[in-house]
Symmetry: C2
Subunit: 421 residues, 2 copies
């Protein structure tokens, strides 16, 4: 790692820390006005941003990037207007900062108040989509956090143009320019250096593939909120309404297979397997889903179902593929999910209230469903108004991560000269 | 690192994970009954524990450990009875697990409930005091968490005897024996191996000195809740009640200087420095406190005050030493504290309500005081009933860490077949 790069990043860290202390003192109205100015600057900069984006896209094409990658990278006037609208949407949301969480008075008269405060400096490390630049920075601004953004190298020109627009909006509104900083280089050493800067960065959110998250987790000295994969399960218990079970299976698998809350493994309790599996298979086949089952499943479905390999039980296909297993009983289903799952979103379909409640309690996942599709694990579906992502971690933020999860708390204590006895 | 050791620790991890899934299903009454059985087994094992402890103490003496170290290591019938009483105290406390934090219904009819649940498996890595073994394990048990304990090598025999007693209590009560496991070896490779086991350990709490915490932070892949140092400040603002300011200074510095919430740096606003410093110095000198001041302080106090070096502004003395600085104004005090402090506990003394509120908001510390001693940063003083420590981290747990901070949450969603549109 070059010393120069370390020095440059540490200087960004110092400036971010200073900006975060100032940001914490701005009112909700000041922050919202700044967000509205940012939205306007984004719209005014459409031509500049598109020009920078065209540069990124042509470089990506000459490097032979896949069509899907280029699609994620490419901006349009509509996409930039959508970015600006999203910023205005965040301005409308309630500000969690300053909220009194609890207050009590001790026998010695000291008054303890626990209030929500910004975290401080948030590092965001992400891959190709340039709209993450604006979305993540703005959610952090709303909650009084400074950000250091490190986007994918493919989007560097677009990201610079977007941050330029954000900075103009901040300056017009009197907020510190250093509230949002983009790492200007695409040097690969940036990730390990940033991950080691726990004196300046309070939390890192990596948004991207497995390799990126691994690199951050391996080097990070500060808390990392991971947005990992979702190996989501649906368990069809013997007292299930089988029509509902088919509908939820198809919805959770097919409505949008490429996302983390889509279904990957179907578990069916043995007594209903013969009645349920042919029904489910028929609907899934109509949607073009490839089935991979254990022996018991294949004994029922025959050649409509390929044999599952051990790797299928931990696979996040993100595609029209579904693994299926017949389980002897409720306990075996719970054990399978807690063992093979990724603790993201798991569901049971049953009319047995007692077993449903047991499932809701025993499954060790961020979001556990009874008679509903796993696809609802999402900040907007939860009514959070905006989300920075879906945390697969257990501490600080678990599941959909909205504005509240971009804050922490502190204790304010008011006394009249109390001394410790 | 030896493969054998890794295999052994991973096997402990697997057993802890399995125990944690069972533990999450026990009722508060079952857990409390187990705690009472544990307390009784500790008292029944007094002779065995003392015998093991004598072995540790004589080894420590032959290795030439300091008297203070040996004092921390040594148990007595009274100390073991106190351990047992502490376990009974924890049984009396309310159980945070299962508490509904918030519940709402979405327009599509799904009902979302956010409830407190155990974290899962907690790793505790600590140094010489054997009572941590019982205290930490029991707080985790109460909150439904399994623990993997790694105590100091000096206390290995005592810790084994204590965990034996805990295990007997668990078995009598039908709780999984693997709920509490002690790493049986004192191999130095244990810390890096444990810190890498994020598939089995959800959170690590290191309790000990700087080197121990550094080793854990460097290797940890899972969240670490640090109990770091406290460089605590008191700012005497120009509108302070000077008598109150002297009392708080002396209390915060002298009542128990060796703890993390004791005062280390005194800041005095210039207009009151001449009136306040001689008063404070007189009382501090009576308590035997060594003063180290900047030039402005020494201009007032003369030879009663040694010159402060740059290192004094970040020092945690844990001793009867106090650094003193005269600051030109309120902003300079805030900047000094946010820059040099450790974000633990900081106080202002003033009769100016507006400035006090600004201080409470602008100081970026876990606990911020107005007209009270910093010594109140403590789970018992907060009324938590018990504490696992004082977190110097910002996320998940900040400041005094009680039972609630040993839990996380999950979302339970109840539907009637809802599908994502």
């Amino acid at each position: 790692m070059t010393t120069d790069l370390t020095t440059e990043l540490e200087e960004m860290g110092r400036r971010a820390r200073a900006a975060s202390h100032l940001l914490a003192g701005f009112t909700t109205m000041q922050k919202n006005n700044a967000l509205l100015a940012v939205a306007q600057e984004l719209e005014l900069a459409i031509d500049t941003i598109l020009e920078a984006n065209a540069e990124d896209v042509s470089r990506a094409e000459s490097h032979g990037l896949s069509g899907a990658m280029i699609d994620r990278l490419r901006l349009s006037p509509t996409r930039i207007k959508k970015m600006a609208d999203e910023v205005r949407n965040v301005a409308e949301l309630p500000d969690p900062v300053g909220k009194q969480l609890v207050r009590w008075i001790r026998p010695n008269g000291i008054e303890i108040t626990k209030i929500r405060v910004p975290i401080g400096v948030v590092g965001i490390i992400y891959e190709s989509r340039p709209n993450v630049t604006s979305d993540a920075a703005v959610l952090c601004l709303k909650t009084g956090n400074a950000t250091i953004l490190r986007g994918g190298s493919e989007a560097i020109a677009s990201n610079k143009a977007i941050v330029e627009a954000l900075s103009r909006g901040l300056e017009e509104s009197g907020l510190p320019r250093d509230s949002v900083q983009l790492v200007p280089t695409t040097d690969r050493d940036v990730v390990p250096i940033m991950a080691g800067m726990d004196q300046y960065i309070d939390m890192i959110v990596p948004r991207g593939g497995h390799a990126l998250i691994e690199a951050v987790v391996t080097h990070a000295r500060m808390p990392v909120i991971k947005h990992y994969h979702g190996v989501c399960h649906l368990f069809v218990e013997q007292a299930a309404d089988l029509d509902m079970a088919v509908d939820i299976t198809v919805n959770a698998k097919c409505q949008r297979p490429g996302v983390c809350n889509a279904l990957e493994t179907l578990l069916v309790e043995e007594p209903v397997a013969k009645a349920f599996l042919p029904l489910a298979a028929k609907s899934l086949k109509q949607q073009g889903v490839e089935l991979r089952g254990d022996d018991a499943t294949r004994a029922i479905l025959g050649d409509d179902c390929l044999p599952a390999e051990p790797a299928d039980w931990t696979a996040e296909y993100l595609d029209l593929i579904l693994s299926i297993r017949v389980v002897p009983d409720f306990a075996a289903a719970v054990e399978h999910i807690n063992h093979y799952g990724s603790h993201h979103s798991d569901a049971i379909v049953t009319e047995n209230t007692m077993l449903a409640e047991q499932f809701l309690n025993q499954i060790d996942s961020a979001t556990v469903y009874w008679n509903a599709s796993t696809r609802f694990t999402d900040g907007n579906e939860f009514g959070f108004g905006a989300e920075i992502g879906i945390s697969t971690d257990k501490l600080h933020a678990r599941g959909p991560m909205g504005l509240e999860e971009l804050t922490t708390y502190k204790y304010q204590i008011r006394g009249e000269g109390q001394l410790k006895q």
